[in-house]
Structures are given as C-alpha cells and as structure tokens.
C-alpha cells in the first residue's frame, strides 16, 4: 500500500481542488486515481476535511448543484488555500525512520519475551515472505509504464519494502539457526497475511 495517510489531509484536499471547483465525490475519485495503490479516501473523511477547509478560509463553497441526483456542494480553493499548498510543497517532508515499526516490534518482542532467537528467526523469515509477496504484487501491476506519477509512487513503495527487506536479511543472518534445524518448509504464511503464528521455538 502506498501511504498517503501521513500526507496532510488538508494539503491533499487543496491539491485535489486545484484543477477546478469540485464536489466531494469528485475529490474522492480524483484522489483514488492519483494514488491507485493507496487505501481509497472515505467519503466521511472527504466531507469533514472540506468542511474544515471552508471554516479556515482555505476553500469556499461556490455553488450547490442538483443534477437529478442528490444535492451537491461544489468547493473551490481560495488564494489562502493556494498559498498554503505552495508553502507545503516548498517545505521538505520530515525524514521517516525514527520510531520502531511493527516489524521491529515483533522481532524485539520475540527476542525479549524469552522465546529466543529461533522464534525471532521464524518471525523474521515469515515477514520476509510477506514483504516479498507484496513487492511482487506491486511490481506486477500495470499502468506504470505510461504514467510517470504512478511509476514513481510505486517505486517509492517498492524501495521502502526493499529497505525493510534489507533489515530483515540482516536480522536473519544475525539470528542463529537452531542446531540441525531442517530448512523451513516452503509453505510460509497464507497470502498477504504477515500474521504472527504461534511463537513456538521449532516448527
């Protein structure tokens, strides 16, 4: 999943209004087209954010359309909104990687919760598989050949997975393999589920 969650919702919505006035449904659709690998925006989220933009003078309501269907409020970005977006674009995002993520937490828990290196090794190996599967999925998706924005968003996701995988590789190599342990069977976790199974020492 490409994470847009950390992108400020305010600026994201301002950007989505930039091409021209839109109602909430159009904002959502445009977002989902810009970030097709991301979690789709929820309607509730969109309307709440647009409401907040109007309250703060960053957007305004320009008309209320009724096209046979439900009444729809059309929003446009204001000059203040444009300026805010400009400032946001100028400011570099804070570099990530400061707090422990789930993959680190799970490994540390496996090691510290007295289950030992064998258990941690299983956690790490299963996580590697889940990461590789997600990477395979992302690399197999169409559309990035012709759309540079999509290509870049996907490469970002792939390279982040790669950074995790390098850490996981180092972790596997530094965790000792139980004596005489057979190679792990080629089943690994069910598709897409980096789920922690029971943390037994040997399988």
């Amino acid at each position: 999943m490409v994470h847009t969650q950390s992108m400020s919702l305010t600026e994201l919505h301002l950007a989505l209004l930039l091409p021209g006035p839109r109602h909430g449904y159009e904002v959502k659709k445009e977002h989902d087209a810009w970030f097709p690998d991301a979690k789709p925006l929820a309607f509730g989220q969109v309307y709440a954010t647009l409401g907040r933009l109007v309250r703060d003078g960053l957007a305004e309501v320009v008309e209320t359309r009724t096209e046979g269907g439900p009444e729809r409020t059309v929003y446009a970005v204001t000059d203040a909104g444009r300026q805010r977006l400009e400032e946001w674009l100028t400011e570099p995002a804070p570099p990530a990687g400061t707090g422990p993520e789930d993959i680190v937490r799970k490994t540390v828990v496996a090691l510290r919760a007295a289950r030992g290196e064998g258990a941690a090794r299983q956690v790490v190996l299963r996580q590697r598989t889940a990461h590789l599967r997600r990477m395979r999925e992302l690399q197999g998706l169409d559309g990035a050949d012709t759309d540079v924005a999509l290509h870049l968003a996907r490469r970002h996701a792939v390279l982040h997975l790669d950074a995790d995988l390098r850490w996981l590789d180092e972790a596997v190599d530094s965790l000792s393999r139980p004596a005489n342990a057979p190679a792990t069977p080629p089943d690994a976790p069910p598709a897409g589920a980096p789920e922690l199974g029971p943390l037994e020492e040997t399988r």
């Binding site: 598989t129 990461h131 590789l132 599967r133 395979r136 190679a183 792990t184 080629p186």
Partner: protein, 226 residues
C-alpha cells in the same frame, strides 16, 4: 508435463576444504521462476554451476530436462547445454577476442548454424538489449553493464528451455535492469522456460514464483511468492 526441468537431489560439494553446498535439493518446473538468494559466499554460484552441468558435485545428482548429467559424457552434456540451456555467468563469460555480435552468435555457430543467419539473429538479439550500435566492439571496449547485456542476449539466442542467470543485472542501472529482466521473465512467462535467477537484490527476487534462500551451503528457507 510438470516433470522438473532442473533437478538437484542431495547435492554436496566442497572446494579444497571449503564446503560450498551441503545436501541441497531443488527442482524447477518449466515456466517456473526461482530466485536463489543469500549472503555472499553462501553457495549460490556453486549451486548454479552444478545445476547447469558446469560442475560435477562430489555427492548427489543433478539432472536437466530429465537427463541425469552424471550419465552423460562431456560431449553429450555440452550439446544439451548448447541447445537447451542459456547461461549468464556472474563473471567473464564473453570471449575476449570476438566482437559482441559473434559472441552472441556463438551458440548458434557452435551448433553448426549458417554464419550469415546466425549473425542476423545475433544482431536482432543485440537490438533487444539496446546494444545494436556496439555489435562490432570487443568485450574490453564496452562497459560492464553492456557486457552483461550481451551475455544475456547470448543466453537467450537459442530460445532455451532452461535459463540460468547469476546476478544478471548487478551492474545495470534501474532502466537497463528492467529491460534485461523483462527479457528473462518473458522467456519464462511466454516461452515456458524454467528460469533460475541468482540475485542478492530483493527487487529482483520478488519477480520470482519461489525464493530459495541459502545460508552457508544449505537451504535456509523457501518461500512461495506467487
């Protein structure tokens, strides 16, 4: 139909005193892509050399397309390799005195192919890897990445049923890597070749159907990625 194209059973091998492979078994079916990964020195290249019939293991057996490599004499093994197998080695695989064009045409020429036809096929293969303008250069006159692309073109020229590639994109930039991997993958996906891809790069391993990870000569972990 799903008989393995590549099979290793209980393979062990040591160089002098260094154990490089210990009790390794592996099979790859036609059309399947297997990535062999693991830290430097864990035995990836040795595994590939054994599987491709370039190295006879001290223990265990290796077969290609159902033929036990132990039971073939050197000539029969060479013919099998030349006709059915494409190999991209990690280092120094091109003939230094030959221009890239003839290096790529070599598998066809060794198999008695007509010179003009083989060169035409080689020129087309070079075009597919973006090397049409370097056809007359000898290996010492091209970059590492260009030599690597020529080696891939040579491995693919016979449309082999089995492909072995040892770090085939290690010296390529992302765009060049995509191009070369695209060719190798379509040989498997469209051409039905069994592809064994040795790599330390996870983004390359993630193209495979299965990952086999080695650690100090034995299989540490296998993961189905499909």
């Amino acid at each position: 139909m799903n008989a393995p194209a590549v099979e290793l059973v209980g393979v062990s091998h040591s160089y002098a005193r260094t154990p490089a492979l210990q009790h390794v078994s592996l099979s790859v079916v036609p059309g399947e892509v297997v990535a062999v990964t693991g830290p430097s020195g864990c035995g990836k290249s040795t595994l590939l050399h054994v599987a491709a019939g370039l190295l006879r293991p001290q223990e265990g057996r290796a077969s290609l397309l159902g033929q036990d490599l132990h039971h073939l004499d050197e000539t029969a093994r060479a013919v099998l390799r030349r006709r059915e197998v494409g190999i991209v080695l990690q280092y120094g695989q091109l003939v230094p005195d030959l221009p890239l064009l003839d290096n790529v045409a070599l598998p066809l020429l060794l198999d008695g192919g007509d010179l003009a036809q083989s060169r035409t096929a080689a020129q087309e293969a070079l075009e597919r890897v973006g090397l049409q303008d370097a056809a007359q250069a000898v290996p010492a006159e091209v970059s590492g990445g260009q030599a690597q692309r020529a080696a891939v073109a040579r491995a693919l020229i016979t449309s082999p049923r089995v492909l072995f590639a040892d770090e085939p994109v290690a010296s390529l930039d992302p765009a060049g890597a995509r191009q070369v991997l695209g060719l190798l993958m379509s040989a498997a996906r469209l051409g039905g070749a069994a592809l064994v891809l040795v790599t330390h790069d996870n983004t390359v391993a993630a193209l495979a159907d299965r990952e086999v990870r080695l650690r100090t000569g034995s299989i540490e972990h296998e993961a189905v990625l499909r």
